[in-house]
Amino acid sequence: MLDIRDLLVNYGTIRAVRGIGFNLAKGELVSLLGANGAGKSTTLKCIAGALKASGGSITLDGTNITSASPEQVVRAGLATVPETRDVFPDLTVSENLMLGAYIHRRDRAGNRDNLERVHNLFPRLAEREGQAAGTLSGGEQQMLVIARALMSRPSVLLLDEPSLGLAPAIVERIFEMIETLKRTGLTILLVEQNVNQTLAVADRAYIMRLGKIVASGTANEIRSTTDLSAHYLGG
């Protein structure tokens, strides 16, 4: 479904991602783990088209999207939820969701059905429909950005640290929601710091360190064979 090969991303002279490769099969939930500064978010931004790759290739369902713009990437069926939890704060919840469906804006009936589905997944957002998104709590904003990404009807969803800075009870619910999404057949790439909870939902995982992939395998293999603390603490 999503195939990354020899990806290189630079920030000016800093080489943030140094030739990584990984892939996601259809319906799979794959996780990218690693400490801060390992290059996970950079990789995601590059796939989303928000950063230019300096080398390598990104293929989505057979289509090369390596140098595609962010607009083209979402049209190709890949939606991204950035870690900065970018709701449009002065727009209402329903306006935010409406923009999520921007690429399908002519298909009003389809959007209505999709909105209903999203509201079922996040009943809280239905309650807060007319409220400015900036007034939502952190957890609600996280639900909103995920819901908004779903409104574009993606076949692949990139989630960047959805649990960042949220209360444990909310994190719990976010992970439950990720499992629900996985059951619908959505292909998900999940970037996380929250290792145990992530490995509990993921099919496979890759571990990044200093811009490279240092370990990969099924969630169980990673859990049993890899000394995660070494990769996190730089041992």
């Binding site: 989303a48 088209g49 928000a50 713009s69 962010p70 607009e71 990437v73 979402v74 049209r75 939606a79 991204t80 950035p82 900065t84 939890r85 970018d86 709701v87 449009f88 704060p89 002065d90 727009l91 306006e95 935010n96 409406m98 923009l99 999520g100 921007y102 690429i103 804006r105 900036g134 939502l136 709590s137 952190g138 904003q141 908004r148 574009s152 800075g165």
Partner: protein, 296 residues
């Protein structure tokens, strides 16, 4: 009573024009975080279009519509000529190209038309006056008030109720995120320039209607007014720009009414002094723009 009515009409008509100017500038600033220094020249373009079509025998309203269309066209042209080629590169580059484009248009007018003022055709109604509650007021002031109410309402509707407007507001808070939802960057930016040109065109006709002539440097004052109004009102907020425009008009008109003849020529010094005080009190402008989109 007559005096009060006169004062209110003066403030509202000047404020309406200022608000429209400021709105045209802040729409671009909100999305690109760049001041379009060629904005004043869109007003100049509208003025010269009126001058150049004055011999054509068209009805005045057709000339006015054509002038607005030309301002819109030049607005979009500004995007293609000055912004798009260097937009992704550096802020400095765009500032310089927008200055250069402004200079180029002004000098083109100097060279091909004339450095001297040129008459702009105005309909009879612009020079008529009416008496409202004892106040003698030019009809063009009432036209300006009506036009600004209609346009401000239309812009508010566009920005709140249409997908394009909501996408433009979203792009103004977080351009990259809007693009990641599939909102095309070029469409949004060109629409912003078109809207900016439209406002400049209409305001240009109303503005030039006060003086009746157009000169190459006519855009400077509106640009300055728009810039100051947006700075007072808050650079990131559309309603702030409108509010700043009306506030600036209130300050200007009050000074016009109260300063003695000797001091009146220093009116701008008083105005800017007040602007400095406002900025010392509220450096980010009176109306804060949307929060930066960070989590709570």
């Amino acid at each position: 009573m007559g005096f009060a009515i006169q004062f209110v009409i003066d403030v509202l008509s000047l404020g309406g024009a200022y608000a429209l100017m400021a709105l045209g500038l802040v729409i671009i600033y909100g999305i690109l975080r760049l001041v379009n220094f060629a904005y004043g020249e869109l007003i100049m373009v509208a003025g010269y279009t009126m001058y150049l079509t004055s011999g054509s025998g068209l009805p005045w309203i057709m000339m006015a519509v054509f002038a607005v269309v030309m301002a819109v066209a030049f607005g979009i042209f500004t995007d293609y000529a000055a912004f798009r080629p260097v937009r992704a590169k550096s802020v400095t580059a765009v500032l310089i190209t927008s200055f250069a484009f402004s200079n180029l248009l002004q000098n083109a007018a100097l060279l091909f038309i004339s450095p001297r003022p040129r008459n702009v055709p105005l309909p009879e109604i612009f020079s008529q006056t009416v008496s409202i509650g004892g106040a003698i007021t030019p009809v063009r002031n009432l036209i300006t008030i009506a036009a600004s109410i209609v346009l401000l309402a239309a812009v508010a509707f566009l920005m709140r109720k249409t997908t394009l407007g909501i996408a433009m507001r979203a792009a103004a808070t977080n351009f990259t995120m809007a693009r990641m939802l599939g909102v095309p960057a070029n469409l949004i930016i060109s629409s912003a320039f078109a809207l900016s040109g439209f406002l400049a065109g209409v305001v240009g006709i109303l503005w030039i209607g006060r003086i009746g002539t157009v000169v190459p440097g006519i855009g400077l004052e509106p640009l300055l007014v728009a810039f100051i109004a947006t700075v007072i009102g808050g650079m990131r907020s559309l309603s702030g720009a409108v509010f700043g425009g009306f506030l600036l008009a209130l300050i200007d008109t009050t000074l016009n009414y109260t300063l003695s003849q000797d001091l009146l020529k220093f009116r701008d010094a008083f105005t800017f002094g007040l602007v400095i005080l406002i900025l010392l009190w509220r450096p980010e402008g009176l109306i804060r723009g949307p929060a930066s989109g960070q989590r709570t």
